[in-house]
């Protein structure tokens, strides 16, 4: 196992707690982080060995159990052979390095477990703020273009840490897996989420980070992230939309081609199963927020891929009418044309492809579709003209980026998230 890179010095906890040194150290680092900056805290986090992040994640689950369920939670996974460690309410002040006074009521007596557990209690709010900052520490590392350089040791930490596969032209390449950092950030947010004045921030965090993962085509991280997000915030339509989109993307040829016939197909799901999951999530999103036309676009396309063009057509028509982003309108017109063509309605198909082509005259997908229609009418000259109009060299076709079009703007939401979190943590 490779050693972690040299980490910046971090102050030791003032009251070391037996059995939880990893979590305590991580909390100390998190508390020094300035949201939105690549500071020493980010560098210290990035240099942590993989196993240490895993240990922190396990300890955070223990904290959550303590605050939400049991009188006394036991970390059932000892890190030292033959020993286990118990975390009790009385340990929280030391663990999070909080003043003991915070754990006393207005009458000066120590709060009991029930009082501490209340989502709006002072200790709970203080802990939640620390953990939101910690989640943002992870977010700042994970969304940094320099994350691979910062956490270089992941590449050499052994096969277990190279479990992410980057897909390029149906060829897979093992890559550093940052999933453990996302797990840990989610565990931190899970503890913070019940606190009323941080709920909006947690929701915003899930939406912004999910969009980021979608934008990065990091489906292996996005899927568990979004599944967890849906369980945590079931009423957020955008999360259902994003989870549907991840399933739709996983069902697409670039990824299915890589795993066809192998064990990977069982891991990620078959094309048909994934499309049905996408269908379910998109319908859920529409129920939650009927104004989301992006959902209609994707639901319509999914139905088309499921071989139900008649059902897809009215949904795609509504999407095309309601969408404002030109790239999305293009996709809606293109898919409408494909649905019409599949139903044998060539005149309507041609009109839809022409609408798409008018929006992006250089885009090849609409031109190819028009050429296909011309060939069906034996109009070879028109078909050839459509093919000849496709320009050689760099060109723009919204179809090529349809998979991430939902998340075309991630910088804005992430910046807003950072500003809002900074405001909340003040």
């Amino acid at each position: 196992m490779a050693q972690a890179t040299q980490s910046p010095p971090v102050a030791a906890p003032s009251r070391p707690l037996s059995g939880f040194p990893q979590l305590q150290g991580w909390i100390q680092i998190s508390k020094t982080h300035t949201v939105g900056e690549i500071d020493d805290a980010v560098r210290a986090l990035a240099s942590m060995p993989y196993e240490r992040i895993q240990a922190v994640n396990r300890d955070l689950l223990t904290v959550r159990m303590l605050l939400e369920q049991d009188e006394q939670a036991i970390d059932a996974t000892p890190r030292t052979a033959g020993t286990g460690h118990t975390l009790a309410m009385k340990d929280l002040a030391a663990l999070f390095d909080l003043p003991d006074d915070l754990f006393r009521g207005s009458d000066g007596r120590a709060m009991d477990a029930r009082e501490i557990r209340r989502p709006d209690s002072a200790p709970r709010r203080a802990i939640a703020k620390i953990l939101v900052r910690a989640a943002m520490l992870h977010t700042d590392l994970l969304t940094s273009p320099a994350r691979k350089d910062l956490a270089k040791h992941l590449e050499s930490d052994g096969a277990a840490m190279l479990s992410t596969i980057r897909v390029d032209d149906a060829q897979g390449r093992a890559s550093a897996d940052f999933g453990v950092y996302w797990n840990c950030a989610r565990s931190a947010m899970d503890v913070a989420e019940p606190t009323p004045d941080l709920q909006a921030v947690v929701r915003e965090w899930y939406v912004a980070t999910s969009a980021y993962l979608l934008n990065q085509r990091d489906h292996s991280a996005a899927k568990p992230h979004l599944q967890h997000a849906r369980d945590t915030i079931p009423g957020e339509a955008r999360l259902a939309l994003y989870l549907g989109a991840v399933n739709e993307n996983l069902a697409a040829p670039p990824i299915q081609a890589l795993f066809e016939g192998g064990n990977g197909a069982r891991m990620i799901g078959t094309r048909l199963a994934l499309l049905h999951q996408a269908d379910y999530q998109f319908r859920s999103a529409l129920l939650l927020d009927p104004s989301l036309n992006d959902v209609r676009l994707r639901l319509g396309r999914t139905l088309l891929l499921l071989g139900r063009p008649d059902e897809a057509l009215p949904i795609l028509a509504a999407a095309e009418a309601g969408l404002r982003r030109t790239e999305s309108k293009y996709a809606a017109a293109l898919f409408s044309g494909l649905a019409q063509n599949e139903l044998g309605n060539r005149v309507e198909a041609r009109a839809a492809f022409a609408r798409a082509s008018a929006l992006f005259p250089d885009a090849q997908s609409a031109r190819l579709a028009l050429a296909q229609l011309a060939m069906m009418s034996s109009n070879h000259a028109e078909a050839l003209a459509s093919i000849q109009a496709i320009k050689y060299g760099p060109a723009s076709d919204p179809f090529w980026t349809y998979d991430i079009d939902l998340a075309w703007n991630v910088a804005g939401p992430l910046a807003l998230l950072r500003a809002n979190v900074t405001e909340r943590l003040r």
Partner: protein
């Protein structure tokens, strides 16, 4: 439009095709008196080798199980349109690209006077690098300029190949090379197969490694071509030249469909009287 196509075909027949023989038909068949002509490229092989010297009377053609009269037949002298449809996606970098360029040039070297060629290259972008031309230096230059990058749009490129091939009424074959699977096409495969059934183009597919997509084999079978798997792109040059040579040794058979429905799908079956010989041609046509 179909009439225009038929007329131009007749012009080519009259000027450049060498008539071998015709069963119960005059040497210059009167196509103009008929609505349509169906043209079939037919490979007859025995023990894997093309059989030459057959006469029209050796063939039986069934259109939707109805026997047809062969009105025209020619051998290998007919000029060809050869469309090179080459995958230059990211996975074709390095030696594969060198082999692909060499194979493309070898095909061009094996063309004859009167033949024409075109080049379609594809990544996720489908590019008609050169339309049908007899100026082969243009194609050689275009082959050298191909740079591998991006994903693969095999289905989209197959449509482009069919369009270019069908843009001329002569005998056309498409030589498609890919080293992988389709990862980025916008067209449904079925829509391209629909087009293939409406053209007389023959498609050959060559895959470096296992053919991982049924599309290319279905397209080849539909058009009467063949799908070939090669272990390494070092075999590509010999494979493409062999396919071109094999195509030249096909018989061109034409008939005016009689006794069958005017529209819809027509299954075509061709057989020869010669024992032990196998016949390959397209499975049918749509009109």
């Amino acid at each position: 439009m179909r009439n225009a196509f038929t007329l131009s075909f007749i012009a080519i027949v009259g000027t450049t095709f060498c008539v071998v023989s015709a069963q119960d038909a005059p040497q210059r068949p009167m196509y103009s008196s008929r609505g349509e002509v169906v043209r079939l490229d037919v490979l007859v092989a025995e023990r894997g080798r093309p059989v030459q010297g057959l006469k029209a009377s050796d063939f039986t053609v069934l259109d939707n199980d109805v026997p047809q009269t062969i009105e025209f037949m020619s051998g290998e002298d007919a000029p060809l349109n050869v469309i090179l449809n080459f995958d230059v996606s990211g996975s074709v970098a390095g030696q594969r690209l060198q082999d692909l360029r060499a194979a493309g040039k070898a095909v061009l070297d094996n063309l004859r006077p009167g033949d024409r060629a075109a080049l379609v290259s594809f990544t996720h972008v489908v590019s008609l690098r050169s339309a049908l031309t007899s100026d082969l230096s243009l194609l050689r230059g275009a082959l050298d300029q191909s740079q591998p990058e991006g994903p693969t749009s095999l289905v989209d490129a197959s449509l482009a190949g069919l369009v270019v091939a069908a843009s001329d009424a002569g005998r056309s074959l498409v030589l498609t090379f890919t080293d992988g699977v389709d990862t980025s096409s916008s067209l449904p495969p079925a829509s391209v197969l629909d087009v293939a059934r409406r053209t007389e183009v023959v498609v050959f597919g060559v895959s470096a490694g296992r053919l991982r997509t049924p599309f290319l084999k279905t397209l080849a079978d539909t058009t009467g071509g063949d799908a070939v798997e090669i272990q390494s792109t070092s075999e590509l040059r010999a494979t493409l030249v062999r396919l071109l040579s094999e195509y030249r040794q096909r018989y061109l058979i034409a008939y005016s469909p009689t006794g069958v429905a005017a529209s819809g799908y027509h299954a075509v079956k061709v057989s020869v009287s010669r024992k032990g010989a196998t016949v390959k041609t397209r499975q049918g046509y749509e009109r």
